[in-house]
């Protein structure tokens, strides 16, 4: 692998450069979903223990983000979306990212084990390994299913939050995992449709490159249907209720409509309006996940007052 990035030795990294290595935007999603998983669990933790659990899950996610930046420094330098990251822009060295990633991985797993339980710590260790090794190092540059497999790593936080509270995996935690797992591929395939030169230039085998754009549009439709089925199923478990069901029905109707608009149109139409539907699908899918988990949180917080849950 040829590295195109050189650390600018005249520049000393500032603290925020190290924070940027942890992918704070991804961490915010991890914090939110892990917190919801923890709050929705039938066993409640002391607020300090809950805070520690969410903090160390987020730290683990940050560690895997740093390891991802360490390995992908060469392709990050090519893609417009990623070339201002700390390593390609010369603000930090690859070694610093590796050191930070390894140190925080160990610290986060150890501390989650001590603060919550070793079952949750085991899941966190597996998630870091899965994202950094299985996805980043092994599959990302090898298979067009990269985003499907990689999506699993981002789907684990609510399950880890649940296990941190209860000590075991349940159908609810698996369904929360499955919802994010199914949500991830269409979200990134929509991005790949309108940011096409990025992935082409970096030679990442995205579905748009290997199977064509028409096939990608079909895949988005199929995954949107699976995602909708899972989202509605979650409503009928112990974490669901009327609030969640109402939000899930509305959001999934919008997603299915948006996915069908992407599926049914051709490239000429998409280019003519600068990928309007693909962009709106991408933007709405961020809100979609937030609203689903917010609804689960609302059910959990309102159930002591007889308002949430079934």
């Amino acid at each position: 692998m040829a590295y195109v990035t050189e650390h600018n030795t005249d520049y000393d990294p500032v603290f925020s450069d190290y924070i940027a290595l942890l992918k704070p935007r991804v961490m915010s999603l991890v914090v939110f979903t892990a917190f919801v998983g923890l709050m929705a669990a039938p066993i409640s933790l002391h607020p300090v223990e809950a805070f520690c659990a969410v903090l160390f899950i987020a730290l683990g996610a940050g560690a895997s983000g740093a390891l991802n930046m360490w390995w992908d420094a060469d392709i990050d330098a090519i893609m417009v979306r990623t070339k201002m990251r700390p390593i390609p822009s010369g603000r930090t060295s690859r070694d610093a990212a590796l050191g930070l990633g390894v140190a925080l991985s160990g610290l986060s797993v150890l501390m989650l084990g001590l603060a919550s339980n070793w079952h949750a710590a085991g899941w966190l260790a597996f998630t870091i390994f899965f994202y950094a090794v299985v996805y980043t190092i092994w599959l990302k540059r090898m298979t067009p299913q990269n985003i499907v497999i990689g999506g699993a790593a981002g789907a684990f936080p609510p399950l880890i939050g649940w296990v941190a509270a209860t000590g075991s995996v349940s159908i609810e935690s698996v369904l929360m995992f499955a919802l994010i797992f199914m949500w991830t591929p269409p979200h990134f395939w929509a991005l790949a449709l309108f940011m096409r030169s990025d992935y082409d230039d970096a030679k990442i085998p995205m579905l748009t490159v290997t199977h064509g754009r028409k096939s990608t549009r079909r895949h988005i439709m199929v995954y949107a249907m699976l995602q909708s089925a899972l989202a509605v199923t979650l409503a009928f478990t112990s974490v669901g209720g009327m609030i969640y069901l109402t939000i899930a029905l509305i959001c999934n109707l919008i997603v299915l409509r948006n996915a069908s608009l992407i599926w049914l149109r051709n490239e000429a139409d998409a280019e003519a309006d600068n990928f309007k539907f693909e962009r709106s699908f991408f933007k709405f899918s961020l809100l979609y996940l937030f609203l689903h988990f917010l609804a689960i949180l609302a059910e959990a917080l309102l159930s002591p007052y007889g308002l949430g849950g079934w």
Partner: protein
């Protein structure tokens, strides 16, 4: 050896060092809080001293 006047490197790395210091202090307080919660919320702690105790003996419910 006398303490040197602040060098140019210290000035450049101030942000880095300051950030690490804050993280370490917060970590210490977090560990103190967590230890306090764990100790106050756990049940009675008994160390094993190789001597039979009533709490270790099986109760015959028959």
């Amino acid at each position: 050896m006398a303490i040197r006047v602040e060098s140019e490197m210290h000035r450049r790395r101030r942000s880095q060092n300051f950030g690490v210091a804050i993280c370490l202090v917060l970590f210490i307080f977090l560990m103190m809080g967590l230890s306090f919660v764990k100790l106050t919320n756990s049940g009675p702690v008994e160390g094993y001293d190789h001597a039979p105790r009533p709490s270790m003996e099986e109760i015959d419910l028959k």
